[in-house]
Structures are given as C-alpha cells and as structure tokens.
Symmetry: C2
Subunit: 309 residues, 2 copies
Amino acid sequence: MGKVYVLGHRNPDTDSITSAIVYAHLKRELGMDAEAVSLGIVQNETAFALEKFGFDAPRLIETASPDVKNVILVDHNEKQQSVKDIDKVQVIEVIDHHRIANFETGDPLYFRAEPVGCTATILNKLFKENGVDIPSNIAGLMLSAIISDTLLFKSPTCTAQDISAAKELEVIAGVDAQEYGLAMLKAGADLSDKTLEDLLSLDAKEFGMGGFKVEIAQINAVEVSDIMDRQTELEELIYRNIAEKGLDLFFFVVTDILNNDSVALALGNQAKKAEQAFGVPFVNNVGLLKGVVSRKKQVVPVLTEALSE
Amino acid sequence: MGKVYVLGHRNPDTDSITSAIVYAHLKRELGMDAEAVSLGIVQNETAFALEKFGFDAPRLIETASPDVKNVILVDHNEKQQSVKDIDKVQVIEVIDHHRIANFETGDPLYFRAEPVGCTATILNKLFKENGVDIPSNIAGLMLSAIISDTLLFKSPTCTAQDISAAKELEVIAGVDAQEYGLAMLKAGADLSDKTLEDLLSLDAKEFGMGGFKVEIAQINAVEVSDIMDRQTELEELIYRNIAEKGLDLFFFVVTDILNNDSVALALGNQAKKAEQAFGVPFVNNVGLLKGVVSRKKQVVPVLTEALSE
C-alpha cells in the first residue's frame, strides 16, 4: 500500500506526538512502511520528553496527499482536528480515546477507541496483542504521554488502566514516574518563551456543538495570574480569532497544574452558555472552575449539553 | 449503571442476533447486567442456528428508553440502522465491522471496529483479551455468524482472521463447519414462506450517500429466478417504499449462494447511477453483478462513490 503517515491532531500535545512515533514503530515492526508525522511544532513539554528518550520531533506536514494515499490517525478522529486534506486520503486506522464525531468512511477500517485517559494506554495493549516487545525508549515516550494526559494521574480522565499501563512502562523505561513526570509537566508549564498568540493556539481544538462552532484552548500553568493579568490583550486576540474563524464561542482554559483547578475565559455570541454549563458566575467573562483539569471529560461534555439545548 | 441492552441492527441478520447474545454473555461474565435484545424477528437462517445450539431468539424491543439508560451496539454503528430512540440513551460500547458513519457521541466510549468479515471474529478476540472461556453453544453461534456473513468463507469480505476464528470455534462447538454451514445457508435461502414484502425488508439497510437516501435490501437464494420472475410486483412494492421513506434509490440484491453472483434491481431518481457504479448495463432496471455477494464490500462503496460525484 506504499508509505503510510501516522499522525495526531492539530496543535499537537505530548500524546499526539509520541503516539504517532510509538504506533509508527509498532506498525513498522509489523511490516508496514509507516512514518510518524506531525501537524504542528512540538511544545516545551513534548520537547522535554523527546530529548529525554532520544527522539527527534516528527517531520511537520501541511498535507498528506500526494505523498501518501493512506493515513492512520492517533489521539483524534474529528475531521476538523486532522490534516486539512483528510478527505483526499484514506483513513485506514484510528487509535483514539476521545468522543467520536464528524468522522465517516466509505469502507470498514480498524477503529479502536477506548474510554481511557491516554492513547498510549491503548497502544500498550496493542503491543501485547501483537506480541511485539516495547523498547525502553518507546516505553519512555508512552509513559510521558500518560503523565501528560492525566496530569500525573490526577485528572478525572485517569483510569485504573492508565495507572497500570504507566506502572509497566515505568519499569521498562527505567525512570521514576513521579520525579520525571513533575519535571516534564513543569517544563510544559514554563510559558516564558511564549507570546499570547502562542498560548491561544498551542493546544486549541475546534468542536461542533449543537450547530455552533466552538474553539477550546487549554494551557497548563504554575502561576495562573501571570496569564490572566493580561486579559485585555488576550480578549483582543480572541475576538480576532472569533471573527476570522466564524466561531460562536472561544473558551480559553488556564489550568493550575499544582492545585488542579482552572480559570476560564469565555467570549463569543454563546459565551453566556458557559455560566449555565458550569453553574458558576462568569464575572468580566472569567469563571473559576474548581477541580476542572480535563477538557475532554469536564469541559467538552458540559458545553456540548448547554449548547445543544 | 443498571441494565444494559446489547443490540444489533434493524432487520437483523444472523451476525446481529447472535453477536448480541454472545456479547451479552461475555459482559455478564465480566459483571455487567447485560441483556441481548433485537430490533426485528429472526430470519429462517438465524432460527436454524439458534435451534441447533439451544437458544431462544432475543426479546424484541421497540425502544430502549425508558427501560435502560445505556446500550451496546453490535454489528452496526449508523444511527438510522439502530433502535429508533438511540438519541435518548447513551451508547457505551460499539463492536462492529462496518464503515463508520452518522455516529456521534458527547463522551469517549469503547468503540471497536475492525475490517473483518464478521462481528463474531472480533468477539472471539474479546473473549481472549478478557480471559473468559467460550462455552460450546456460544461458540456455535459465533461460528454460525461467521458462516453467514462470509457465505461459508466465499465472500470477498472474508479475511484470514475470520477463517482462523472459525477454525477455533468449530472445534469448541463440535460441528463440521462445511456441513453445518451449508445446511444453515440453505435454511436461510428457503424463501417459500416469505411474501414479497418480506423479501424487501428482511435484510434491508438504509444509508446516507452523498446527500442521497439509499436503501439496500439483500436476499440469499438458491433459485434467483423464483424471485425475479415476480419483478413487476416487486417494483410496485419498491415504489411504495420509495414514496413512503423519501428514498432516492432502492437497490434490491438477490444473491445466488451456490454460484456467488447477484442480480440487482435499481429503482428511484438515482437509479441511473447504478450502471455507472458497477459498469454494467441495467436493462429494464435489472443488472447482473458477476461475483458480487457482499453488500458491505462490493455494493456500498461503489454506490457511495457514484452518488458522491
């Protein structure tokens, strides 16, 4: 079938980047000509993990065609989160842990989604199911992804399966998950080299919700106020984003990785729905979301429900 | 989470009925209060398999709510092929081997689709992955499903995985796959107790294709001419179907299970596209599809392409 690209979502996080590398490795072991590629530059947290375990960042691509006819999606399935010419290539596999939406094929395919905290936890099963050993450096990437997606096992998205996979991978990788994990998360929360534009786009995802177009950007921080002190400038940039993309809601979430709370900034014609969704006041467009750290489990479902009424 | 219904698609075939029974069994073994239910009465072929291995047909349901909050879909994922109040319940799992379309969730779920010939082949893996033994009578149902979906391993949808699963299940079930399988297929192709309305609805599925509404009904037969001799009456019924459901195309496929060819009758405002799709003339609305036995692999993709241009 020729070369196959393995790719995570736009604005890739650590799970998207490492799962592309890891699954491409597994597919090559199984005889496929697979190459991990990425749809965006790696973030500080991911760079920290790649360097630790001796990997280069995957090659950046703009489009999949005409280079390849077939792609494998990891860590996403929604079309608008994928490579922009996704309709011109065939999706032959999906490995994901998100909701399923805006995904359609003409032919049957291998689609493996599980309600776990991280794609790497599913990949850990796939290595076993295929009888392929996990090399130490690959295990390190998988562990990094689980730590990243579960905020060191503290996110409500974290399942018993993620913890048990991480324990196995910790041994193979030969690192201490707590010590290494905190260093990695802190590297990711170091925003000193970032512009405000960066903060809004680093981990932004677009969703269709009840007919509305919603973008949700999330950023991890050690000092939330460093970011929120610049609310006026942020709002200006967000309004530009809303106008350019025709969004109904831009929801910017700043997550405190030490206290595990988030502060959210809601703008757009559907911004009022945020109060209703979370049951907290949004004062001057800003609301405090106690205990909220997971976009997937604590933000997307409640906003989807509020916008679908 | 209370009781969970496990259900196959409307107009259920042998795979849909038996996979609901089989997967409900596995989920009960794993501690879930799961009940197999069905969206339609069983066909002769399925009744033959159920009787052979000592099972009753699953209970017929009209709606899932308010009886249950959660359902598991087997052998389908497209909304219009599922229980009519699917939007009122939560889909917590999908085990399927078809294309993915018209399926959307608010939350992550367990979604396992593989490009194999039969749902039972995936279920065979799930028993192993969960360390649960397959009882002899359950293995018999799974073998029946594989034989049915692959037309005794002769359909192009049949993969090496289906054959290898069937070999394992044959031993556990203690039957000869060829001998039992031919008897089961012939029981299914016995249409003597069927009305023409039955033939059009027994295994009919609706699809969205390029904005058009398409219904594809398929029937297995030993003597194709027994059915096609009554084309005039069939057309009258089909036109009524088209009018009632607002279809753009009704595609009726009669498959010769001994010669592995099909004859198709195409009606509706998009009927002309059938010629283009299959590259054969449709004379008096009827075309001969040499070597075509699989709706999923040989009919749906080509019609989807022709209707999407």
